[in-house]
């Protein structure tokens, strides 16, 4: 099958973000003042464990950002010279990996591990008469001849195999990285193989590998987390939601940073009228209720997108632009907090003696800002970036609920919750969609929160290492 890579705007920005981070790390790799705090973060059990969880989420998000379109099978009689026809549906590498999950669509709701549909249907019974009963699922457990008899043995067999696989991978990992210098090469702690138990971060890895193993073994044959109203696999939806959450959390920051850095530091360093103007700007923005400002801007963007529908050749491109607009709006409205922080810090720094010394050399303002102020506020920026991340992931859910979040057609945690909450009124309750969104979000946000605590402890001299 022929494919053509597609670079959505958000993909491009993610790559840009990755490249920037990689470049910064490369530049600072020898810089001990830069590395020491991160070493501290990674050497704590909490820091290393949460970083690993975040890395897994980021990996899934990245896989979901490698987009392509498939080439449609050429019509008969088409010559080679003719323009190839591509599908209008944009897929990602993750979609390709999760192909069974994506394609195993049922008719409507089904509970996790169910073999039958959630709703009764009228169908021909064994005796030819019409009966109302729960029909078998098309995919979930379809390979079982007699679900009632075979179900448990089949599930436990597959789960056992999956867990075993995960454990074997973990053992391999330990023998490769746990005890050899390979770990140290990547700056990973726990690379010294002490007799006192296995290296610490392996435990998180073990849990992740076991979960992944079990899911890989079971998911192609069962709907591990059930299906939603239109029969889509909830596990697939949950995995696809990750990218949306991560994008909101990271791209917003990317957009916000130039404003916060530039305006905050300038206000603090130059003072006077520049300070007055910038303070006026952020007080004004702050005074507008956040959700309303975002809502207003999103409404405007929505109208513009609708008015210019012809620009977007695929639905994916459309929801992508809407997502970016949302990030931009969150960024433009969200820089004030960090800017205020940076202003206060710059105010302090400009009186510090090393800045005075630079001024005594006649060093230009631009250079002082770049060489003296910027590096000395970076820890604040980093702390606020990691703290904001979790807040933004949560905000996406709320905004999507209000109707000013991502495109309603886009898979996201907010849309998942939104779609599921009304179904709580059903009897028996359709709980699995909510539960899945809850677990996936909770793990991500909790890991981010705990990680940010570690980062703050390591970077902020005020927190003194111990709270």
């Amino acid at each position: 099958m022929m494919i053509k890579p597609v670079l959505l705007w958000s993909d491009a920005l993610i790559l840009l973000l990755l490249a920037t981070v990689a470049a910064l790390v490369w530049l600072a790799r020898k810089n001990d003042t830069f590395r020491a705090p991160w070493r501290q973060v990674m050497s704590s059990r909490m820091g290393a464990g949460t970083a690993l969880i975040l890395a897994v989420y980021a990996g899934i998000g990245l896989l979901d950002s490698l987009h392509y379109v498939e080439r449609l099978p050429g019509a008969p009689g088409q010559t080679a010279g003719q323009q190839a026809q591509y599908s209008g549906e944009v897929r990602s590498a993750l979609d390709a990996l999760l192909k069974p999950l994506r394609e195993n669509v049922e008719k409507t709701y089904s509970a996790p591990f169910a073999t039958h549909l959630y709703a009764k249907e009228t169908m021909p019974g064994p005796d030819g008469r019409e009966v109302r009963d729960f029909p078998r699922l098309k995919h979930g457990g379809a390979h079982l001849a007699d679900p009632e008899k075979d179900f448990w043995s089949d599930v436990s067999e597959r789960a056992g195999l999956g867990l075993l696989g995960g454990w074997v991978v973990w053992l391999l990992w330990r023998s490769w990285f746990g005890c050899r210098n390979g770990g140290a090469r990547f700056g990973l702690p726990g690379s010294s193989c002490s007799a006192a138990g296995p290296p610490r971060r392996n435990l998180t890895l073990l849990v992740i590998l076991l979960t992944a193993g079990a899911l890989i073994a079971l998911a192609p044959h069962y709907h591990v987390l059930g299906t939603d109203k239109v029969g889509q696999d909830v596990l697939y939806l949950s995995l696809k939601s990750i990218r949306t959450g991560l994008l909101i959390g990271s791209l917003t920051t990317l957009i916000m940073l130039p404003f916060a850095l530039g305006l905050g530091i300038a206000a603090g360093y130059f003072g006077g009228r520049i300070d007055d103007a910038i303070q006026y700007l952020y007080t004004t923005l702050n005074s507008i209720p956040g959700v309303l400002l975002i809502a207003a801007a999103v409404l405007v963007v929505q109208v513009q997108i609708e008015a210019n529908a012809e620009f977007f050749d695929t639905a994916a491109a459309r929801s992508d632009v809407r997502l970016l607009a949302l990030c931009a709006i969150l960024g433009v409205t969200g820089w004030t907090g960090l800017a205020r922080l940076l202003r206060a810090e710059a105010l302090k720094l400009r009186e510090l003696e090393f800045v005075q010394a630079a001024r005594a050399f006649g060093v230009t303002d631009a250079r002082i800002l770049l060489r003296h102020l910027l590096p000395n506020v970076m820890h604040l920026v980093l702390i606020s970036v990691v703290i904001d991340f979790s807040g933004l992931v949560l905000a996406e859910a709320v905004l999507s609920y209000v109707g000013v979040g991502v495109d309603p057609g886009m898979i996201s945690f907010g849309n998942m919750i939104n779609g599921a909450r009304l179904e709580l009124a059903r009897e028996p309750v359709v709980w699995w969609q909510l539960a899945a969104a809850f677990v996936f979000m909770f793990v991500l946000v909790l890991a981010a929160n705990l990680f940010s605590d570690q980062v703050r402890d390591a970077l902020d001299p005020k927190s003194g290492g111990r709270k």
Binding site: I288, V303, A397, R421, L446
Partner: protein, 325 residues
């Protein structure tokens, strides 16, 4: 001091003007009234006549800033900017796109909002502060560690889950309270308890952890060591000295939101079906009624600025350095 407050009040004017210009730009210049008409008239193929009619019905048929057709002072006043934007300054909100008077809606809907928001605010503040003080009193013990972990876990859960979980448990499973709805008068409490409880639980992680951090920072300061060197008990040091000083940063975050309580909470009100300003706003957003959204933006900014002034006044009570200089 009076000068100080007066200056803050004067400072509010350019800010409100800025808000006004910003919203005007968003709603009338980026999006033209034509766009608005198209949204409301719905169908794809709208005749220009229909658009013109809709605009004149809703008062959107004037030019933005300068009206060359009018004479004298009306050249500048008979415009969209004055009619739709500047009039907000005298709290003339005009009519919503569905024709109803916005000011009347606001005056009716703010009471249910207050009924929910005020208890949430007061009880919440007391509960969060108490919990934070409890943790700080037992700092370094497993109780503190456990409390902090609980806080981080609670703040990692989306607010939507608290609402959904609360409705499911307290409403559907246990039948304690009606799942949603509202009744004015004395029966209001039945509909009030669950939203308040849900908001409280939803906010405890974030706020308590924040207050705890504030207290811990204060405890590290020299004057606390002096107080302990005087032989005061831990409790007295905590309540008299630490709380007294932490009041200043606490007020910064707390007082500013008080006026906004009138506007209610978007999520809570819409989930629990409270006919307050929050649900009014969310309905307007979903119906794309820009007139209401604009009014609420202005009202929100106004109340925020009132909050800022109140914060400054509250400093004079909490901080003698502000009071006496």
């Amino acid at each position: 001091m009076l000068n100080y407050i007066l200056r803050r009040v004067l400072y509010a004017i350019p800010i409100l003007l800025g808000v006004n210009l910003l919203t005007f730009a968003l709603f009338f210049m980026v999006n033209t009234p034509d766009d608005m008409a198209r949204i409301h008239l719905g169908a794809k193929h709208v005749t220009p006549e229909a658009i013109t009619r809709w605009k004149s019905e809703h008062g959107y048929d004037k030019p933005l800033f300068v009206n060359p057709a009018a004479s004298g002072i009306e050249k500048a006043t008979d415009t969209l900017f004055v009619e739709k934007s500047l009039k907000l300054f005298v709290l003339d909100f005009g009519a919503a796109d569905d024709g109803r008077d916005i000011a009347r809606e606001i005056s009716q809907r703010m009471w249910p909002s207050l009924v929910i928001a005020l208890p949430t605010f007061v009880v919440g503040l007391l509960a969060y502060l108490s919990f934070a003080l409890l943790l700080v009193f037992f700092r370094g013990t497993p109780l503190d560690t456990g409390g902090v972990i609980l806080c981080v876990a609670l703040m990692s859960i989306s607010g939507l889950f608290y609402v959904i979980g609360g409705q499911y448990l307290m409403g559907k499973l246990w039948h304690w309270f009606p799942i949603s709805g509202y009744q004015p008068g004395l029966d209001a409490w039945k509909f009030m308890v669950m939203p308040v409880l849900v908001s409280l639980i939803g906010g405890i992680g974030d706020s308590s952890r924040f207050y705890r951090a504030l207290f811990i920072e204060e405890i590290g300061k020299d004057y606390v060591r002096t107080a302990r060197a005087k032989g005061l008990s831990d409790l007295r040091v905590l309540f008299k000295h630490v709380l007294g000083n932490a009041m200043i940063p606490i007020l910064t975050g707390v007082v500013v939101v008080i006026p906004r309580l009138f506007m209610g909470s978007l999520i809570i009100e819409s989930f629990f079906g409270i006919p307050g300003l929050g649900s009014y706003t969310i309905d307007a957003i979903q119906a794309q009624d820009f007139a209401i959204v604009r009014s609420m933006v202005f009202l929100g900014s106004l109340l925020y600025i009132v909050g800022l002034v109140l914060t400054d006044i509250s400093y004079t009570w909490a901080d003698p350095r502000v009071r006496l200089e």
